[in-house]
């Protein structure tokens, strides 16, 4: 009996019609319903259920057209784990005779580089799959090609055929089964059978292999076709399309159904604008409207950017599985195992799931501990002998404890190399250990993004774990390739296992569980089999609908076409058919195209849009390239005025009574930033750099010199000895902070500092010879001085790097070490020149040192200045500031002013932003073009309030 074909009315959605038809048939508990996709299947079931009063006993079985083949093969052996097959293909590639291999891969990687080989195997595997879907093996291509004129690729296809032969042979030898081969063989051996009934529901896109199989069981098939009977000759027995007809038959999308705008977000805005009008005219519910996106990336964007309209939408997919918690955790472990570097450790510690696990063992610790440590000690690796890791008295340093826990996990689960099943066990154990503390419930929305990836991982691990007899003999010699010489690496490492797992997981879509009712956002391929009567399609552009022409190194499109495989024409035909069916079956349809994509690159109109009748083509083209400009509403709401203003300091309750001398500069620069830094105590933690930051470099230099100042070397006048001394102290200090094996950059920086210090030694020796002697007790000691302003007490605090007294004259020299790269003169850092030649104080440090050291001064003579230690060696030495006493008093008066203002709580308005980044840019709206306006506005408001 030939297949029965039933034509469904395409003025209504396909599923709707299919459900209707199915319910009219006598109950068939042995009926297998075949649908284009699983979502369509679920939806069909819902329709059947609703229409049969809410329940079905013995509901029909469902499958997708893609997995139908396997249901039709009698005696299908259990197919082998895909990863094993992939590894066998790699083995086959490696064993391929050179004359063939050279044709395919002129520069083959070294045998040990498994990942590189896997990389090569990927396109080959894809090609095998593509061929198999057409029921072909590489050898068949060879044969067919002999009839093609100008076929230049014979040599390559010979090589591919040889490779496939070798691969099949290896499979046979090891009793492994590849689904492609099974299918093709079953077909050839006529092992196709089915006992029940098959109903194909709108399966317009069937691969040749499946068609061939269906032909052998055609008497039990019924095909539901979503098209009018009048087109029957353009469909095959099983609903497959006549590509020639469908890819070129004109199709007109009426102008009023087309909208063209610029950016992706404009597409959304245009959709919303239209929907607004439409929803006012028609009663819509979440069930009667669907949004379709040609580019899946638009799904989440649309979902988020329609929230403000009050529209509840849901993109049907979860986050990409490779980015999910469990997979990224494995990835982070992988990275850390590979490099063993503390930067990778810090990434791993940031993983929220990892952190949860660690919390149970070390409460209150988090990754910032490591970040901070790295910032201070710049260590590549965290180990007990790393510097600065002596713990609290009663135990280990929490960071060591953390590192220990991680290293134990690695040691326990990931360190050994081994077979796939070994890794299945290890990875499963690792994940179990980390995730066990979580209570997971599939009904809880937040848990699904953990449960789904874990189950996917588990299902792959299970295929790895299934003992395959053949693997025993395959693995040791071949898999990681080091067949000769090497001692251990005959096994897979975690890196390999991780990569293999990622390969398997890639492109596994995770459906988002259905929750609150919402308008669904679906991808293009789902739209035909959706049954909401109203539809918007976004990103109706070439490259999305239809998709890009694939570039394949083996099977160019025209070859695919010749071989009857899926090709551009067949995809165009399918998309065109679906579009026509959609056009007929929807009550309301709008098709939106954009001119640029998310990366702001130009896009082209969909060819489907241009398949119209000849006379309509030119207007349609112009509609796209010269669209009329729509007045679109913003996607997000806004206020007249932004509430995100620079936070104004509240009136201070406890005015400052003391202040560090260095803080004055900050106030003079900007009172507001002063407030942030000295009252709110805001300071950005220094990021980890693999070298000493300028402040760290400065501190190191300071520390050496502080050591010196407190040592009995201060009287040394022998520059070589001094130099030697500095050198030793430098090494000591370096080691205590940066360990015995500092990062290479630090070692270089240490040498640079050593060089500066050795020049400084000459200077120091000379200065001592000249009679200047360090006042040792004052070295780096904290000075405080009472500095009453307006008869109210105030204290200045400061730390003077160094004070020398001249042994003969009693003169005092106050110095500040400057290690910054450029050696600026004191006056240049303290005062700026105005247009009229006068100068303004911008820093008061040195003048206030004068005040601070007042107790030391007994004959009025004080030299203030910098001790330059910058990169220019010829500038190293003392640089005095030649201010007159008047100038110094002027500076002091400014300090008093500052104190008055601080007492009065004047921290507003902010000044112009500084030229360098100080971490406060965000708070101070530095980058905001309207900042000045904003500040003025706030000033005005303030006055209004007052």
């Amino acid at each position: 009996m030939p297949t029965q074909r039933v034509f469904l009315d395409w003025t209504k959605p396909a599923l709707d019609q299919a459900a209707h038809w199915l319910l009219e048939q006598p109950a068939q508990s042995d009926n297998l319903l075949v649908l284009p996709g699983s979502r369509a299947g679920r939806r069909l079931m819902e329709l059947l259920l609703t229409r049969s009063g809410g329940h079905l006993i013995d509901p029909p079985a469902l499958t997708t057209i893609g997995s139908l083949a396997d249901k039709l093969i009698a005696g299908l052996p259990e197919t082998s784990c895909p990863t094993v097959l992939r590894l066998v293909l790699v083995t086959a590639l490696k064993q391929l005779p050179t004359e063939h291999l050279d044709v395919l891969v002129p520069n083959a990687p070294a045998t040990g580089q498994l990942l590189a080989w896997l990389n090569l195997a990927t396109p080959i595997e894809k090609m095998f799959n593509t061929l198999a879907a057409g029921g072909l093996l590489p050898g068949d291509v060879m044969q067919l090609a002999t009839q093609w004129p100008d076929f230049t690729q014979a040599q390559r296809w010979q090589a591919i055929t040889a490779l496939h032969g070798l691969y099949s042979q290896l499979l046979a030898e090891h009793d492994l089964h590849d689904l492609n081969l099974q299918r093709i063989n079953a077909l050839a051996e006529q092992r196709i059978a089915f006992t029940g009934r098959i109903t194909l529901v709108c399966t317009a896109d069937i691969n040749p292999l499946t068609i061939a199989m269906l032909n052998q069981v055609s008497d039990c098939c019924t095909t539901l076709i979503h098209a009018p009977q009048s087109r029957e000759k353009y469909f095959g027995h099983f609903g497959e399309l006549d590509n020639v007809y469908w890819h070129q038959q004109p199709l007109n999308i009426p102008a009023e159904k087309r909208i063209v705008v610029d950016q992706p977000k404009d597409q959304i805005a245009a959709m919303l604008m239209d929907l607004k009008t439409f929803s006012e005219q028609t009663k819509l519910t979440t069930d009667t409207l669907t949004l379709g996106v040609g580019d899946e990336k638009l799904g989440p964007l649309l979902e988020q950017l329609s929230v403000a309209t009050g529209l509840n939408t849901r993109w049907h997919q979860q986050r990409d599985i490779l980015l999910s918690g469990p997979v990224s955790l494995l990835q982070a472990f992988n990275q850390y195992c590979k490099s063993n570097l503390s930067t990778d450790l810090s990434l791993l510690l940031r993983h929220p799931d990892m952190q949860l696990y660690l919390h149970q063992q070390i409460p209150m610790s988090d990754h910032t501990l490591l970040d901070k440590y790295l910032g201070e000690h710049l260590q590549n690796k965290i180990s007990p002998d790393a510097p600065g890791l002596t713990g609290p008295k009663d135990g280990e340093h929490p960071l060591l404890k953390t590192a220990h826990i991680i290293d134990t996990l690695v040691e326990k689960h990931l360190a050994q190399q081994g077979s796939l099943s070994h890794w299945a066990q290890c990875i499963s154990n690792l994940l179990t250990e980390i995730y066990t503390p979580l209570t997971l419930n599939p009904n809880v929305e937040q848990d699904v993004p953990v449960i789904d990836p874990l189950s996917q991982i588990a299902s792959i691990l299970r295929t790895w774990f299934t003992p395959t007899p053949a693997l025993g003999s395959l693995e040791p010699q071949d898999i990681s390739g080091a067949s000769g010489g090497d001692i251990l690496p005959q096994y897979l490492s975690f890196e390999h296992a991780g990569e293999l797992l990622r390969c398997e997981l890639a492109n596994t879509p995770l459906a988002r569980p259905n929750g609150k009712p919402a308008v669904e956002i679906l991808g293009w391929l789902e739209l035909h089999m959706d049954d909401a009567p109203n539809l918007y399609i976004l990103n109706f552009n070439e490259g999305s609908i239809p998709g890009d022409v694939r570039i394949d190194p083996f099977l160019p499109d025209s070859i695919c076409q010749q071989l009857g495989l899926t090709c551009d024409k067949s995809r165009l035909a399918r998309d065109r058919y679906m579009l026509e069916a959609i056009l007929y079956s929807r009550d309301y349809l709008r098709i939106i195209a954009g001119k640029t994509n998310l990366s702001h690159e130009p896009m082209l109109p969909s060819r489907l849009m241009l398949l119209c009748d000849d006379e309509k083509l030119a207007p349609t083209v112009l509609d796209y390239f010269e669209p009329k400009i729509l007045k679109l509403a913003p996607l997000l709401p806004s206020n007249k005025q932004s509430e995100l203003t620079i936070p104004k300091p509240p009136p201070i309750t406890h005015p400052l009574t003391k202040l560090s001398i260095t803080a004055f500069r900050a106030y003079l620069d900007c009172p507001y930033r002063f407030y942030l830094r000295y009252i709110c105590k805001l300071k950005k933690p220094s990021p980890y750099l693999p070298e000493l930051s300028p402040p760290a470099f400065g501190i190191l230099a300071h520390n050496v010199l502080q050591h010196f100042g407190q040592s009995d070397m201060i009287d040394c006048t022998e520059h070589q000895t001094l130099s030697q001394y500095f050198s030793e102290v430098l090494d000591q200090l370096c080691e205590s902070t940066y360990g015995q094996h500092p990062l290479p950059a630090i070692a270089i920086q240490r040498e640079q500092l050593r060089q500066r210090l050795s020049v400084f030694a000459k200077f120091q020796a000379r200065m001592r010879s000249d009679g200047w002697r360090i006042i040792q007790e004052k070295i780096e000691s904290k000075f405080t001085v009472d500095f009453p302003v307006d008869n109210k007490p105030f204290t200045l605090i400061g730390r003077i790097d160094r004070m020398d007294r001249h042994t003969d004259t009693g003169e005092l020299r106050i110095m500040d070490y400057k290690t910054s790269e450029s050696s600026k003169k004191p006056d240049a850092t303290h005062r700026t020149k105005n247009a009229d030649g006068s100068k303004t104080w911008i820093d008061l440090q040195l003048p206030l040192y004068h005040l601070l050291a007042s107790s030391e001064i007994y004959n009025q003579k004080v030299q203030l200045g910098y001790c330059q230690l910058g990169k220019q060696l010829d500038k190293i030495g003392f640089e005095p500031a030649l201010w007159t006493p008047d100038e110094i008093s002027e500076a002091v008066a400014i300090a008093q002013d500052v104190i008055r203002q601080i007492r009065a709580g004047i921290f507003w308005p902010p000044s112009d932003p500084p030229a360098y980044e100080d971490g406060l840019e965000g708070i101070c709206h530095d980058a905001y073009p309207l900042r000045k306006h904003e500040i003025n506005q706030m000033q005005l408001q303030n006055r209004g309030d007052a």
Binding site: G54, L56, A116, T152, L275, T285, T286, Q304, R319, S328, L347, L348, P352, Q355, T368, K372, L431, T436, P442, P449, N514, G515, K516, P517, V519, I551, P556, H600, L604, A618, P619, F625, E626, A633, L635, P637, S638, N639, S642, E643, L644, T645, K683, E691, P694, P744, A745, E821, K833, K871, Q872, L873, D874, G919, G922, I923, H925, A927, P929, K932
Partner: protein, 1051 residues
């Protein structure tokens, strides 16, 4: 089928604004009209934007003519049916496509990403690579290198230094991978070992031979010089040795020192030492250069490997490998190309040809040659290239204008194939006049200052023909000196724009903009640094400017706040970002009460957790919705663009939320409404035009070689690199012709590039051109300082072009030249032709409000299986991840299956035999052990089990149904429940459900197991009640614990 005789191969030398695109698109249409298949026409240009413009022009042209003449519809159809295969693209994307076709041969990783070198991920890799290079070398080697590169400085920055070195060298190394290419220093005459020792001994002994005074004493100056020389020699201070004293004289060819004659011996020794000193210095350069080579080599291998592993390619990778492959005589890539690309190139149209690099040309040339050599009776293949050597500004990127100069000969095309175009459709004659003055007089412009530059300028001028305006347009040119007292010319840093100058220029820009609002203004500068300075200043004075490529989103407080939250999630110990978030509406939403680490910790974790589960687009989208309500329209628009960025970022997301912030900070985003004022580099302005062009800073010396760490030489510009030199050899140049040559080659190339840049900048203007320079200054001696006067800067060139020589003087604040009408726009018909202002009246200010009824229980229902309800649905991770079914589970499955075979138990009911059972299990492929079947037989002996499975007294086979393993689906409480019932006895008015359980009871006994299963069984009861339309109490259920034969009723 083709017939193209009237369309010869063509080389168009088109000056700026003469309508290159027009030529190209017309030619394209001509080809199609002559029957060429669009998918065989390759048309390439340099930017995607330009490529798209060509395509857009071609198609709209075709559409317009189709609209007018139905007979033209065919051609439009031709284009649209092949839309996806049109080869109108950038060279880059053509090569990427070719590369993918040869992925295996070229070892291109599958699914590779191609990134810019400025891309965030790429920079991270660079950093990693440098780190590895550092680790691979003893610090000494690098320290040595740093010292050599930075002379006496003891800089504390390692990565900065290394980065400049390495990134510069990487590309050069790729083109000059042989050590010998880096070692071309002539060190002849270098004394070593004994020879050197001897020479020094002799020098030491020279004391007696030094010139003497009349009194017979050794002349003081000679002795002093000889003494210093001793020290210099001992310290290897050969530079000083050469530059002072006796050696200096001797090397200049003198035989006297002071007034005294030097002895022959002295002369001989000094000559030897002078040669040695030069050689020694060159040798030091050589060692340095070899160290650089080594560094580049290491870096390159590490970096390439890292990229390969991370599957990240640079734009240059594919063409590099293609070039290698194409130039390999063994490979037969070319014949394969058409097959692999599935497309044959019959016609070639190359735009912006002067920017083509040798590498690119080597890939294209074989095909171009094939096209030009192709002769059949229809002459069916065509070549066209369009370019302008005056606009060759990509020399630094490998662009080689000389290819364009020679292309006619290279392709054997007749001289008449080359056509010049000098009529500008863009600029007003007023603007063109100035351009004509400048470049016609460039060969004797005294502003160039150096003879060498004049020679090169003269060569450059040969490419220049007078420009004529094709249309009569109003125009204005304005040249003015601006900037106050603080202009301090700084030799070290020529690009440092002086503050006062920037401020005044920006004020001027504001005025110009206010004068003619709505007209586009292009502010063009040389460096990115200048762009950002001007952007900052212009924004500061309230002009919302954009730069090419759009705006940075983080400049808005609302976006900044979200980025701060990302930073906070990453570093909860960072009080600055926490403070920013805390003081924003987002802080309230996140429940923040302080900015202290301890309070942030858990919030930070939650954000990371959310990111991990729902991803960036959803979380950022959620926050954007939230913040927009508190933001103004500007912020709200930027927030919506931020969500778009989150979508593009997502695929590369990692565990560091702060990386998202860095990503956003690095990305420019085009706004829908572009600002009329744009600041950009001259390079970016290529291909664009503006109503007004402003050149705010003209002080860059054309041809300046600052910051150049490396010079390379080529035998001719179209040859590959021959030698590579380190550039720190100012003082050695006159000693060493190779170095001089290298320096000059670089200098000439740079000068020519810069002159082209200047030309490009000037020719972007349609109507008005504003040129601002810093004022001239007097030196202490009262002469004019060279800066802006004779220093080869654009300012100097302009002064000498537009001002009479005698009038050049100190000119602060002066308008130096004007021409045309400053109110040029008044004469234009429509004052807002370029950027129509949005019609603010009709565009809504708030999002639409859309009301759609939420409907429950109809579509896309939550799905659940009854078994998921047991134990309230919690699952154990260990179960989820279990690799095998535990024995318990597989035993359970088998026993379930066996029970399914049972019809009734007790009395005369038939029980399957052991053989039947094993056969069944075998067929179904269930794994079992014999003892399972034994257990089964025991179980069905147990009284409670028998009781439960006994046929009830009121059973009537006709009216009642016995369900075994019954599938069902049911809608329940808005959920879709699908499952299977083990067994049920179904009467018309009641049902008894039975569920087999194989569990071992816990210590608490079966009671607690019943509790555990209750939700599942209740679901069955409800489902059956619905299916049978019975009240719930009519559906009862039993749990049959087969292990111990315990049967429990479940209520």
């Amino acid at each position: 089928m083709s017939d193209l005789p009237d369309l010869p191969h063509l080389i168009i030398r088109a000056s700026a604004g003469t309508g290159k695109t027009y030529q190209l698109t017309n030619r394209y249409m001509d080809l199609i009209h002559h029957g060429a298949n669009p998918q065989t026409i390759l048309a390439t240009t340099f930017t995607r934007k330009a490529a798209y413009e060509i395509l857009e022009r071609v198609i709209t042209l075709a559409a317009q003519s189709a609209l007018e003449k139905p007979s033209e519809r065919f051609f439009l159809k031709q284009l649209t049916t092949h839309l996806h295969k049109l080869m109108i693209s950038t060279l880059d994307s053509l090569f990427q496509k070719m590369g993918r076709c040869f992925a295996l041969e070229l070892q291109l990783p599958a699914n590779a990403q191609i990134l810019d070198s400025t891309d965030f991920a790429m920079q991270q890799l660079q950093m990693q690579a440098m780190d590895q290079v550092l680790c691979n070398n003893p610090p000494k080697v690098l320290l040595d290198l740093m010292r050599r590169l930075y002379h006496s400085d003891a800089s504390s920055r390692v990565f900065d230094v290394l980065q400049t070195v390495v990134t510069d060298l990487y590309h050069i190394y790729k083109q000059a991978p042989n050590e010998s290419q880096w070692a071309n220093y002539n060190t002849d005459g270098l004394l070593t070992g004994d020879l050197l020792k001897q020479a020094l001994d002799v020098h030491q002994a020279l004391k007696d031979e030094l010139p003497r005074t009349k009194t017979g004493k050794i002349a003081v100056n000679a002795l002093k010089a000889w003494n210093s020389d001793l020290r210099f020699i001992a310290d290897d201070q050969w530079q000083l040795f050469l530059s002072k004293g006796i050696a200096k004289k001797v090397s200049e060819g003198a035989t006297q020192f002071g007034t005294a004659e030097l002895s022959d011996n002295t002369l001989r020794v000094y000559k030897l030492l002078v040669i040695h000193a030069k050689a020694w210095l060159l040798n030091r350069e050589l060692t340095l250069n070899l160290a650089r080579f080594e560094l580049a080599k290491q870096y390159s291998s590490v970096f390439d490997q890292l990229r390969q592993d991370a599957r990240i390619l640079m734009h240059s990778d594919v063409p590099e490998r293609l070039e290698q492959a194409f130039s390999d005589p063994e490979s037969d890539f070319l014949p394969d190309l058409a097959y692999r690309m599935d497309q044959k190139i019959d016609h070639m149209m190359l735009d912006e040809f002067q920017d083509t690099s040798m590498q690119q040309w080597k890939i294209l040339m074989p095909q171009a040659e094939e096209i030009c050599a192709h002769v059949d009776e229809f002459a069916s293949r065509r070549f066209l290239c369009v370019g302008d050597v005056k606009q060759a500004i990509y020399g630094w990127r490998g662009g080689c204008a000389e290819i364009f100069s020679h292309i006619g000969q290279d392709l054997n095309l007749p001289p008449e194939a080359t056509v010049p175009l000098n009529e500008s459709y863009r600029s007003s004659q007023v603007v063109l006049d100035v351009i004509n003055y400048i470049f016609n007089g460039i060969d004797h412009n005294e502003g160039l200052g150096k003879d060498q530059l004049v020679t090169w300028a003269t060569q450059w001028k040969e490419r220049f023909d007078n420009h004529k305006a094709a249309r009569e347009l109003p125009g204005y040119v304005h040249f003015q000196a601006l900037g106050g007292d603080q202009f301090v010319p700084n030799e070290d840093d020529m690009d440092e724009t002086s503050n006062a100058h920037t401020i005044e220029v920006c004020d001027q820009i504001a005025v110009i903009h206010q004068n003619a609002p709505g007209y586009s203004i292009g502010v063009l500068v040389w460096t990115n640094k200048q762009v950002s300075e001007l952007l900052t200043r212009l924004r500061w004075i309230g002009i919302d400017v954009a730069s090419e490529g759009g705006v940075y989103l983080h400049d808005d407080p609302s976006v900044s706040c979200i980025l701060a939250a990302m930073q906070m999630a990453d570093r909860p110990d960072d009080p600055t970002s926490a403070f920013e978030v805390l003081n924003s509406p987002l802080g309230k939403y996140l429940g923040m009460t302080s900015y202290h680490h301890d309070d942030i910790r858990s919030i930070a974790w939650e954000i990371r957790q959310q990111l991990s589960s729902i991803g960036y687009p959803r979380l950022i989208g959620h926050w954007a919705n939230l913040l927009a309500q508190h933001s103004d329209a500007r912020g709200s628009e930027r927030l919506s663009l931020l969500v778009q960025l989150a979508v593009t970022y997502e695929p590369n997301a990692n565990l560091k939320p702060s990386d998202f912030a860095s990503y956003v900070r690095s990305k420019q985003v085009p706004l829908s409404q572009q600002s009329p004022v744009q600041v950009m580099t001259i390079h970016k302005s290529k291909g664009l035009e503006f109503d007004t062009v402003i050149l705010p800073s003209l002080k860059r010396k054309l041809g300046a070689l600052q910051q150049q760490t490396t010079y390379v030489t080529r035998p001719s510009p179209i040859d590959p690199i021959e030698y590579v030199y380190a550039s720190g050899f100012e003082n050695l140049r006159n000693q060493c012709p190779e170095l001089e040559e290298a320096h000059n080659q670089e200098w000439e190339r740079r000068f020519s590039d810069d002159l082209c840049g200047f030309y490009v900048a000037l020719t972007r203007a349609k109507y008005a051109l504003y040129l601002f320079t810093a004022p001239l200054r007097l030196k202490k001696d009262g002469q004019l300082s060279t800066f802006g006067y004779t220093d080869s800067s654009a300012a100097a060139i302009l002064r000498h072009t537009l001002i009479a020589p005698e009038d050049i003087c100190v000119d602060e604040g002066q308008v130096l030249y004007t021409q045309g009408n400053p109110q040029w726009f008044e004469t234009l018909p429509d004052p807002q032709i370029t950027t129509p202002k949005p019609d603010k009246k009709t565009a809504p200010k708030q999002p639409y409000q859309i009301k759609i009824k939420s409907q429950t229980g109809k579509r896309s229902l939550p799905r659940i299986a009854p078994s998921q309800m047991e134990g309230r649905g919690n699952i154990r991770v260990s179960d989820l991840l279990a690799l095998t079914q535990s024995t318990g589970q597989s035993r359970g499955t088998v026993i379930h299956r066996l029970f399914e075979t049972l019809n009734w138990l007790g009395d005369q009911s038939a029980v399957p035999s052991r053989d039947e059972l094993t056969a069944l299990l075998d067929i179904e492929g269930l794994k079992y052990e014999a003892q399972y079947i034994d257990a089964f037989f025991q179980m069905i002996q147990m009284p409670a089990v028998i009781d439960a499975l006994r046929k009830p007294a009121d059973w009537d086979d006709n009216d009642c149904q016995l369900w075994r393993e019954k599938n069902f689906a049911v809608l329940m409480d808005g959920r879709f429940v699908q499952g299977q019932i083990d067994r049920a006895q179904v009467w018309d008015d009641r049902v008894i459900i039975m569920d087999y359980k194989t569990d071992v009871p816990p210590q608490t006994g079966y009671e607690s197991l019943v509790d555990h299963y209750r939700p599942q069984i209740q679901a069955y009861r409800k489902a059956v009640a619905v299916m049978r339309k019975l009240p719930l109490q009519k559906v009862t259920a039993k749990l049959i614990f087969v292990r111990d034969g315990v049967v429990c009723d479940v209520h």
